[in-house]
């Protein structure tokens, strides 16, 4: 169990290092949309949008696509994978 926990942590840690996003800039470009407004449209909490913006949390594909759809942009315009 402990080994699985650390393995999960390592995967998430790597994800934090390699996935960047432009959500903050896109919110600004879309009529200075607030985090709360984006969160309501995506169906998550404001705290989750804050965590995604700060690259502390990597969203699921479903949430990532929903965020991109709100901005009417392709996924790769919002999220970028940086291979280390």
């Amino acid at each position: 169990m402990v080994r699985n926990l650390f393995a999960t942590e390592w995967v998430q840690y790597m994800a934090e290092l390699t996935i960047a996003n432009k959500i903050k800039m896109m919110r600004f470009m879309h009529g200075e949309m607030t985090q709360k407004e984006l969160a309501d449209q995506v169906g998550v909490t404001r705290q989750t949008i804050m965590a995604i913006e700060a690259a502390k949390y990597s969203p699921s594909l479903e949430v990532a696509f929903k965020i991109a759809a709100v901005f009417d942009e392709p996924l790769e315009a919002v999220f970028q994978y940086k291979s280390s």
Binding site: M1, A51, A54, Y57
Partner: protein, 165 residues
Amino acid sequence: MEENKLKLFLDSLSFRDLTLSVDLAVTIGILYFYMQQLFMATPEMRADASFISSLLLKVIVVSIVLSIASSLLLEFVSDNDTDKPLDEREQKIELYGNKTGLWILQSGVCIAIFQYTAEAHNFGPSGEYTLPFLPLHIMVVAFMVSEVANYGTQLVRNRMGAVYG
């Protein structure tokens, strides 16, 4: 200046943070109540099975009363937030908290089994210095500490933003 800081802090609190804080406070309160009742009792009372039964019953009643009171309080202050399901990040944090709590609970059960076996075989100092019904107390305390760890972990992770690390 201090008022602004307090306002910013309160604004940053989500309903989930508030729920977890209340649950954490309630669990710590119940743990304190149990420990206080146990340590205030005389050695004769601690050895009495009926005292232990009534103490456990009191703990259950206090837990139910506090749970109902905290649920009513949260319902009163919430803006229909109690009906909203957890989002994916909160679900992961809940899972992480449950894992932490489970780890502590498992440790407590193992310690209780060891204590019970040691007492039965008069192993080491267990027979001489033991508290009556010690394995039971270990399990009850482990259960409450695991709940405290569960809520505490979830609260910290929720505030930090990151699920892991």
